[in-house]
């Protein structure tokens, strides 16, 4: 892993369109400012890992789960695909 030292106000550039600025250092907490194209999502790593785990679990279970019926409100019926077959 590349390790660099930076002071508050200094920044890093990753590739030609991501910039990370050290905004503030306070005790054991570092505040970072991140500028990235809108197609680059920025996550706190532990949250990202938790969502990956949940999504993969949901997809895996879904292969064999029998899906019960629960009452519907039809809130997204306009987004449903119209099946041809």
């Amino acid at each position: 892993m590349l390790v660099l030292s930076r002071k508050p106000g200094e920044a890093l550039r990753i590739g030609d369109d991501v910039e990370i600025t050290v905004v503030e250092v306070k005790g054991d907490m570092v505040r970072l400012g991140i500028q990235a194209p809108r197609t680059v999502q920025v996550w706190r790593k532990e949250l990202w890992e938790a969502i990956v785990a949940e999504n993969q679990k949901a997809a895996e279970e879904a292969l064999t789960a029998k899906i019960p019926a629960i009452p519907a409100s039809g809130g997204v019926s306009d987004l449903l695909a119209k099946k041809k077959k």
Binding site: I51, L79, K85
Partner: protein, 159 residues
């Protein structure tokens, strides 16, 4: 026209206009950008089927099926991949985990809702800032859980 041999629904044929596009994929499936929603009006549980991988589908539902007063606080930046959107235009979907051996114990990921624009059909999975929402919230109340448990066990016996 998109033709797909799906594990769950067999041969599917849908219009391109039915596709919901996730410009940045979803966590765990970043390379899957095109999805379709398959379901009927009688069941709150619907399927988000990958239009690119027939074996990949996630059960999802609308927030009201889980929590009537669901009100996710989502930072504006998290929605940047899909651009500006009015509140009326936004549709929210919640990913469900449904254990095959105990479907009545299904949980909902209220922490990471999927936000879709009805008009542009662009969508993104985002993090809700709400501290009170977890990754595995129970979906069914006691009555409903018991009913589905009985149905599942009866179906098991009948086989």
């Amino acid at each position: 026209m998109i033709q797909l041999n799906s594990t769950r629904f067999g041969e599917l044929e849908v219009d391109e206009s039915d596709v919901i596009t996730f410009p940045v994929g979803i966590p765990g499936f970043e390379e899957r950008h095109a999805w379709i929603l398959v379901g009927d009006d009688n069941n709150a549980i619907i399927w988000m089927q990958s239009a690119e991988d027939g074996a990949l589908a996630l059960p999802v539902t609308t927030p009201d099926a889980v929590k009537a007063d669901y009100n996710a606080q989502i930072p504006r930046e998290a929605l940047e991949p899909i651009g500006e959107m009015s509140e009326d235009d936004a549709a929210i979907l919640i990913v469900l985990s449904i254990p095959p051996d105990k479907p009545w114990e299904m949980t909902a990921n209220l922490k990471a809702p999927i936000v879709a624009s009805r008009s542009s059909r662009l969508a993104v999975q985002a993090i809700a800032l709400n501290e009170e929402y977890g990754f595995r919230c129970p979906v069914l109340d006691d009555g409903m859980r018991e009913k589905i448990r009985e149905q599942a066990l009866a179906a098991e016996k009948a086989r």
